[in-house]
Symmetry: C2
């Protein structure tokens, strides 16, 4: 059977694109620029359950997601976390943090607050910006992220 | 200058051993079996700042830490997180979660509570158990973790 994204991940995010290993999605909360990376493999819960080749793709894709967030959103810090206590399908959160964000310097999970949805227009703009930056980074062209 | 572990990481953990890339330490809180992996490189804050070769070592070492925790502590889930909002030196938390732990299924950071120190005897026992398991996994011998 083909890869099926967990319903809770799908319903809380917008599809951006598929990479060699991961599905990449934007979390539907504009509080933080926040990506989900989900390896398109069945029945994997932990990074150590990926094959060695997939582990290499995984870290390269996490690094590319971090790089795009750094260039596009100029955060103070990137936070990267694979938790999965509620959604067992292996997924990693890669998101941007700022000194003036509502949880800083705590982990975002230390502060409970409502999510802020993107408008349709904002959502489309973010997705296009990210896709263009990813496409540039694949060619080694960081400048593409700024165009 | 040689690698120097950040003081806040050093003071909240016990040294276990150095791997090809990372220093491995046990967090000094017996609430959860909790490892720190800290790449022994200067001035690195994000995974994407590691060289590609170091990124590969990094993910292989994260996977080995996960595997040891799975075998030794039989958790419900491993949580893996590189946050670094307070300590900029790149470090990843790899720790074991249980359905009856005090934060489940929330991220541990959603629940604030005092840490529980190991006794000296417990600390030595955990460190020896982990070192033996790591040594076995390096040889591909998972059974060594149970001896």
């Amino acid at each position: 059977m083909g890869f099926v994204l967990d319903e809770r991940l799908a319903s809380s995010s917008f599809f951006i694109e598929d990479w060699p290993l991961c599905r990449v999605a934007l979390k539907s909360d504009r509080t933080w620029p926040w990506l989900y990376l989900v390896p398109r493999r069945d029945n994997i819960r932990e990074i150590c359950e990926l094959s060695v080749l997939d582990q290499v793709d995984f870290i390269r894709e996490v690094a590319m997601a971090q790089q795009a967030l750094q260039i596009l959103y100029k955060p103070e810090k990137i936070n990267t976390a694979a938790l999965g206590n509620m959604v067992p399908q292996l997924h990693v959160h890669v998101f941007a943090r700022y000194k003036d964000d509502r949880a800083w310097p705590q982990p975002v999970w230390a502060v409970q607050a409502a999510e802020t949805p993107y408008t349709d227009q904002e959502k489309q703009a973010e997705i296009q910006k990210l896709k263009k930056c990813f496409e540039g980074l694949r060619r080694g062209d960081k400048a593409a992220c700024h165009q």
